[in-house]
Structures are given as C-alpha cells and as structure tokens.
Amino acid sequence: MKREINISKIVLTAVMLLVGLIFLLPFLWMISASMKREIDVFTYPIEWIPHTWRFVENYSEVWFGENPFALFYWNSVKVTVLTTLLSVLVSSMAAYAFSHIEFRGKSTMFLIVLATFMIPSHSILVPQFIIFKYLKLYDTHLGLILLGSLSALGTFMLRQFFLGLHKDYIDAARMDGAGHFQIFLGIALPLVRPALATYAILRFIWSWNDYAHPLVFIRSEELETIQLGIHKFASESGVYFSLIMAGTVSAIIPLVLIFILGQKHVLEGVALGGVKG
C-alpha cells in the first residue's frame, strides 16, 4: 500500500519536474544564447550547450563595450539600495505609529494611506511629472528614490507585524520612562527583523524591476537604470541577439541571487500579505 503511493508520487514528481523544465525553457534559452556566437543563436535544433563558447567576449562586450552597461548597473544598484533602505525606514516608522501610538486623526490618516493603494500609479504620472519639474526632481535619482520610498503597501504590511508584537512589551517600556523613539529603535524594530527582511527583499525586487518611472522621470543617458538601458540596447542594436541576451541575463542575476538567498522570506511575504508590486 505504502509502496504504491510512493510510486505514484515519484511519477507525479517526474511529470511536474518536466512541466517545470518547460517553464524554465525561456531562461535556459536566454542563458545559453548569451554565451554563443551570434550565428549560433538561432540554429535549429537548438544548441543548448554552445558548440563554440563566447562567454567572456559577449559579456565583456556588453559590460565594457560601447554601451555603458556598467554605468546602468551602478545606477540601478544605487537607486534600488537607497530606495529599499529609505522605504523600510519610512514605512516602519509610519507602521509603528499606526499600531502603537494613540494620536489624534490616526484612523483618518490610516484610511488615506489605504486609499492611495487603489490609485493606479500610471494614472498620476502626468501630474507627478509636473510636480517633479517644479521641485527640480525631474531627471534625478533622488526623485526616483523618494517616489519609490512611499509605499502604502509596505506600511500596511509592516503594521500587521507590529500589531503582532505584545502590547505589554511596549507598555512596560513606556512605564519605565522610555520614549517612543527608544522603543521603536530598541525594542520594536529588532523584534520584527524577519518582517523587515521580507519587505526589504520585495521592495528591492520591485524597485530593480521598475520600468515606467525611470522611463518618465529620467532623461539623461548617464542616469538611466538597467531596465531602460537594456530596452534601448535591445531596440537599437537589434541584430546582436547574443549580446542582448547577455544583457538580459545580467539584468536578472541580482534578482535571482537575492531570491535564492532570501527565498523563505520572499515566499512567506507573498503568501502572507498576498502582495503584488
């Protein structure tokens, strides 16, 4: 009986791995194409393992050739890391206040935060653009970072975690004369560290992948992020597919690394909040 069940489980596992493999084919094709000579990219049947390798040549051409990929990369790293840090700070501060401080107008403000959830980000691009121009944030990384740091979703998510903290901890600290800043930094933040990690990783992924905002708010080539850079590279140098693939692999690698390292956090965060960036 037990053995029978295992056999069906093995068969299903094999089937699902096959489905998974088909699912991964676009990635595998991309990686393989990025290491080939141009003329081998479209040979059929597909050469999954390149016959003649051009790994080093392709990647160094993309990174240090005519296209400033290294610069795009650096811009993305800078914007993404700063956005993530600032967003975690701003969101966790607001989340702490919404869960553990009693102040006037709290529920109204929280309602406003929730309401901004619903506003589609594309429908306010134009007035944002005008405001950016006015505040001299247009065509700066600072503008992207500030915009990316304001997350109603992050506030909502972190608030759930702060609410999970035992109120007694905070009350006891208040009785001992600790101020809210002390409690926030010394007690609350350390206790929700896993939640902060979850949110930070998700924010990193969304920020790295953001395309619409850099597209609208960045004009100078030397400020372009990787998503803009790679799209332009793909539409302009339309014939060098192996190089384009080396570029797309480069754009995805940080995400895959972060995902694999923080896999538990990402999957838990998504399952818990049902979040969609």
Binding site: F42, Y44, M109, I119, S123, Q128, A212, H231, F259
Partner: protein
C-alpha cells in the same frame, strides 16, 4: 471629601493632557515622512489629474495656457477609435486572470500533496514573477520571432508549414501577450494558493476519506470551498493589476501591430508624453481609475455573497 480630591484630579488631568500631547507629537513625527510624501506625490497629483481632465492643455506650455473645456475630453474618448480599441484589449486581457488561477490552483494542489522536492518546484514556478519584465519581454520577442524564433522553428520541425507570426500578426499578437502574462503570473497565484491549502485542517480530509470520498470529491467538497476567500482575493487583485499592465506591453509590442495590443495605460502614456495632450491623457487616467474603483466597489459588496469563510 470632594474638595480634598480636587487637587489630585487636577494634577492627573494635567498629566493626562501632557501624555496626550506627547503621544500626538510623536504620532505625527512618526507618520510625517509617509504622509507628507503621499500628499505631495500621490494625493495632490490625483486631484490635479482630475482637474486637468476637464481642460485642454499641454504641460510644456505655461500654466496660463490652460483652457477649461468641461467634459469635452470624456466625450472625445467615446469617439476615439484607438482609445476604444485599447479599452477593449484591456477587457480581453482580463481572461488571463481566471486562466492563471485555474492553472495555479492545479499546480498548488499537486505540489502541496503529491510530489517530492516541494521547495524546488515552488522556486521554479515563481522565477518568472521575480524576473525583470523588461528582460523577459525581450527574450520572448526572440522566442516568438516569426521566421527564426525557436518556437516557430520547432513548429515547422514537427510539420506545421505555416506557423502563426505571433507578435507580428494582428490576430495572434494579443493572445501571445496573454500567454506570456500567464507564464509570468502563475507562480504568484500558486504561492498564495499553497498558503491557503496549508491552512485547511487535515482532519477534514481524514474524515472525508473515512466516508469513502475520492480525490475529486474531496477537492470539490473541501479544498475548493475552503480556498474560496483566496480565489476571490486573487480574482480581484488580478483584475485590478490587469488594468494596470504597461511594462510588458510597452517592451514587447509597444501596442502594435496596428493597435492590436494597445492598452489604456500605453495610450495614456503616448498621449501624455509623445502627443503632449495633458488634459486628454488625464481624462483617460480617470477612466482607468474608474475601472479600478468599480472592481473595488464590486468587491466590497460582492464579498459576503460569494465567499465561504
């Protein structure tokens, strides 16, 4: 007696007031960065966009050039073929959501109970969701290439002499985009379904088994009803985000061929930043907002009727 307690009450009232002030001050300090930010970058833009939707203006000309035109922009939208086609495409794209959910539930049930290497599988199916949409779209452009893309080479290899031109064909472009969207989003739905499946008490299945229920019966009577809140949640968020899709279409097809894959966000973008019609673009923005609002309202009212808690 009363006279004696008065001073004490006064002191305590003062203390309470002090404490209240302290709490208020700190509350405002903690929420200030978020609230000021949202005010400047979300709330005010939303209001401006509503006002602009009743005007004729281009943001490169000065503010004194703004011309109030009433609901003319909205009336124009009704006659704008490109807009109507874009909106129609948005509605067609909604099909992606249920398809994605059915596949996701199927995968979630199988992976949750009937396979080894559960974690590996989760990672595999989730990969497209975390990957950069721009990169993914560029890869699919090549995979779907009409003449030398691997997909058509394969189809010709198995004897289909005249395979579709996919993204380059007016009739196949939108379905191709939809296939890619399903591929991107299915892992996300799957992870959320798996979390819901794990919350179902095992005893339910055990007693159903004792009553002689088979796998299909168990799915129909236990699994499906008990994940219905999740189904509902995924449906609503999926429909809303489907209205917001922009990146994938901008990179994959830029709305073409003709307007066969154009969507409202894309047309809004080109109207605002390429044709520089700020007022007209704002009216589209509000139609988009209206669609999202409609789904949300339906959700608030529909929830109680449709969902099994």
């Amino acid at each position: 007696m009363r006279v004696q307690t008065m001073p004490y009450q006064e002191i305590s009232a003062k203390k309470v007031k002090q404490k209240k002030n302290y709490e208020n001050l700190h509350g405002y300090t903690f929420v200030a960065p978020m609230m000021i930010g949202l005010l400047i970058f979300t709330v005010i833009p939303t209001i401006i966009s509503l006002l602009l939707s009743f005007t004729e203006w281009s943001f490169i000309s000065g503010i004194d050039k703004i011309k109030f035109v009433g609901v003319k922009n909205y009336a124009m939208l009704l006659d704008d073929q490109v807009f109507l086609e874009s909106l129609m495409n948005n509605l067609k794209l909604l099909v992606v959501v249920p398809v994605q959910m059915v596949l996701a539930l199927l995968l979630a049930v199988i992976i949750d109970k009937f396979v080894y290497f559960k974690n590996v599988m989760k990672v595999i199916f989730f990969m497209p969701y975390i990957s950069s949409i721009v990169a993914v779209a560029i890869v699919f452009q090549l995979l779907f290439h009409p003449s030398y893309g691997p997909i058509n080479q394969f189809l010709r290899g198995i004897g289909i002499t005249d395979p579709p031109k996919w993204l380059a064909d007016i009739h196949y472009a939108l379905p191709s985009v939809m296939i890619i969207m399903v591929w991107v989003g299915v892992g996300f739905c799957m992870i959320i379904y798996m979390a819901a499946l794990q919350a179902i008490p095992k005893e339910l299945y055990e007693s159903a088994e004792l009553d002689g229920a088979g796998a299909v019966r168990k799915f129909k009577s236990i699994t499906f009803p008990l994940v219905s809140p999740t189904t509902f949640f995924l449906l609503v968020t999926g429909l809303i985000s489907s209205f917001k899709s922009f990146d994938i279409i901008k990179v994959l097809t830029n709305g073409g061929p003709s307007e066969s894959t154009s969507v409202v966000t894309l047309y809004l973008y080109s109207t605002a930043f390429e044709s520089l019609k700020t007022g007209y673009a704002s009216s589209m923005a509000w139609v988009l907002f209206g669609c999202v609002l409609l789904i949300t309202v339906v959700q608030i009212y529909g929830q109680k009727k449709w969902v099994n808690y």
